[in-house]
Assembly symmetry: C2
Homo-oligomer: 127 residues x 2
DNA sequence: TACTTGCTTGGAGTGCACTCAAGGGTTTTA
DNA sequence: TAAAACCCTTGAGTGCACTCCAAGCAAGTA
């Protein structure tokens, strides 16, 4: 079950990661600073070298962000992951709460969309 | 087609409007200051007296806010309404742009919801 | 080697949408 | 009528999520 060691493990600079994720370099450094990223590996001269694992994590964080979850909650989730397996229950709760909020938000947006449709119809035929 | 004059027109104080709309008194005053509300009628001593018309407008603004429209765009819409009938086209465009953004947001949230469902399933059975 | 580009840090600054404070006048209730 | 509750204005403060700055070190290219 142990991960195989790879001598050709790809490592990305911060600018590469910024380009891939759409996040700014500033935001990537900030994420690490506030604990939203595990500490990123460094080159001999101290520059960040991101792994594919980091990229996966950023992808998931991007999804959490897309849900509208606050940065504070995302940091909390990241802490729970670092703390290990015994936090699985709490992680699930956090995700379930977020899911409820997302569902409520979708309902709210759908309602607002109906009002928008109605109003736009009232403007129909206006040039 | 003229509106009939009513001697019993209901007028609401700011605290009544806050209670009805869920907005704070601060926010109501701020909305007026920035031009998101037409100027609200005043009592002889200068206190705000909101009408049912104001309440309707706040209801619509609430819907716009629920779409995630920025305050700046809502103010723009309010300006267009004040400018009269010749702005109907631009108002419709603003609403249509908002509609496109809402639809995109719903899609994004739905995608994120799928990821959340998947992750939560992975935590299933954890106590 | 000189130059350009990229990366580092800590801390300051930005934009948004409120939210509150201070100091004072007004209205309602006991 | 006096206390309590409510309302007014201007201007400052808050929380969030970035975003930028300064000063300096490192890496790649002509």
């Amino acid at each position: 079950m142990s991960q195989s060691l790879s001598l050709t493990q790809t490592r990305y600079t911060i600018s590469e990661v910024a380009a891939r994720t759409g996040l700014s370099q500033h935001t990537l450094r900030w994420y690490e600073r506030i604990g939203l990223m595990p500490h990123v590996d460094r080159s001999h001269s101290g520059q960040r070298r991101f792994t594919d694992r980091d990229l996966d994590w950023l992808g998931f964080v991007g999804k959490l962000r897309a849900t509208g979850m606050s940065v504070a909650d995302m940091v909390r989730y990241a802490e729970l992951v670092r703390e290990g397996e015994h936090t699985r229950g709490e992680r699930r709760e956090l995700l379930e709460r977020t899911r409820r909020e997302v569902r409520a938000r979708i309902t709210e947006l759908t309602d607002a969309l109906a009002v928008l449709d109605y109003k736009i119809d009232m403007y129909a035929g206006t040039r």
